[in-house]
């Protein structure tokens, strides 16, 4: 597990994209994804435009394309579904080499899922690569995301590693006493371990809450940074959304 304030999807850097405030990047990424989703699937070349836009951001942020590509593999399980569509879709069918026929709406549907999903994943990865987790939380806080959501996410960021450590110690203690689950019916001890981990985490939650209340917490996280986001920063971030919107509109006009 990574450090408390870094994560495997983050690529440390000092580029202009890294320095942009998190809330600008969150809004920009969300905006771009909305444009991608709104583009008609028949406007094939427009999707190339989105990819170019992302590539431009990668260049600015100095993210190697291979680095992004490896992490984009997370999408693979979802692609399987898309691959099935051309075989299961309705009429009309088109014939390809070797007498195999594929459904035309199925093909279009598969393309739609594939291209929009991939662009969405790539956009999210770009956001994650240039923004440390705690900055994302700061960004959400400044965007007035519900306080409870921000608080829960902050606590998760801190305690995920603590709980993983606890689970690891409990597992070591089980193994040290000769526990070696190979078959399903031997999994009872593991299951009870998960149960007691839950109880422990719950109790820790109560103690953390107690400690927070003792330091004057009343349900709202205090603003953790006084920095202000300038208009220029917003304009920089929203420029990307502008390009994406232009692409989406062209897509509608052309298609």
């Amino acid at each position: 597990m990574g450090a408390g304030h870094s994560h495997p999807l983050y690529l440390p850097g000092e580029s202009p994209v890294h320095r942009l405030p998190a809330e600008v990047k969150i809004v920009a990424a969300f905006g771009v994804v909305l444009c991608v989703v709104a583009t008609p699937r028949e406007a094939f070349w427009v999707f190339g435009g989105y990819l170019l836009l992302l590539a431009a951001v990668w260049v600015a942020a100095r993210i190697p394309p291979g680095w992004i590509a490896r992490r984009a593999l997370i999408e693979a399980p979802f692609v399987v579904l898309a691959v099935l569509l051309p075989f299961t879709g309705g009429e009309p069918h088109v014939e390809i080499a070797g007498g195999v026929t594929l459904s035309e709406p199925g093909l279009l549907g598969a393309w739609n899922i594939l291209v929009k999903g991939t662009l969405g994943v790539l956009t999210s990865l770009t956001l994650a690569a240039t923004t440390p987790l705690r900055d994302l939380l700061l960004g959400l806080q400044r965007l007035h995301a519900p306080a409870i959501v921000v608080t829960i996410a902050t606590l998760m960021l801190r305690y995920a590693d603590v709980i993983v450590g606890e689970a690891r110690r409990m597992r070591l203690a089980r193994i040290s006493r000769g526990h070696d689950p190979r078959f399903l019916w031997q999994a009872g001890a593991t299951a009870r371990g998960v149960g007691s981990l839950f109880v422990r985490s719950y109790e820790r939650g109560e103690r953390v809450h107690l400690a927070m209340v003792s330091r004057g917490w009343t349900g709202r996280m205090p603003a953790l940074s006084q920095q202000r986001t300038s208009r220029a920063q917003w304009l920089t971030g929203l420029a990307a959304v502008g390009v994406a919107a232009a692409l989406a509109v062209t897509g509608w006009v052309v298609a």
């Binding site: 408390g4 801190r158 003792s214 205090p222």
Partner: protein
Amino acid sequence: MSTAPEPATAAAPSPEPPSLEVRGLAFAYPDGHQALYGIDLTVRRGERVALLGPNGAGKTTLVLHLNGILTPGRGSVVVGGLPVEKQHLREIRRRVGIVFQDPDDQLFLPTVGEDVAFGPANFGVSGAELEARVEAALAAVGMSEHRDRSPLHLSGGQRRRVALATVLACEPEILVLDEPSTNLDPVARRELAEVLLGLDTTMLMVTHDLPYALQLCPRSVVLDDGVVVADGPTRELLRDTELLRRHRLELPFGFSL
């Protein structure tokens, strides 16, 4: 804040109120278990007092009354002249700084600096003053250079000192430490003692680590079965082997006074 305490050095015409005054405090948990049976305890400003007692004596229950997390069934708690009541809970929680036993419970934010800023920010401190508070608190525990690190990457002793800093940053009237020496190796234990001896804050230290109490606190109070059974100079109490035995307290092997 409007209700900031007067500086400790002010020559007040009336005698200055004690940091902590507990009168006839009794408490029973909702399940009917009576934990405290009328506690009387006064801690004057600047005193360092150890609260000793075996497990289950009611020490933690007492501590949770000091900042109004539990509400007494009977009796009262007054902190620096301000009664612990619902309408001043915020100020009470600023005045009573509790350092809990497990630093992982206390340190919940991604970086040390943010965690130290959490308390004072809740109490309305912001901007340059907040910055200065964080600096000062971390400097007081010797952890300034770890400000931007995650608590996850600190040693047990460092975490304990950061947990102390998170409370010092609130500038409390009384510092309450719950078992401060548990899980510390001897060096970390000594370093923490040095930090604590360097502070001039009023201190109530809950512990069953008797040598630590002797080192840090000139006065001790023994709590057992929900009542105060002894109150006096630490050295004298620890010499009374009969008293210690009666209340399941014991000096470590090879230790004598």
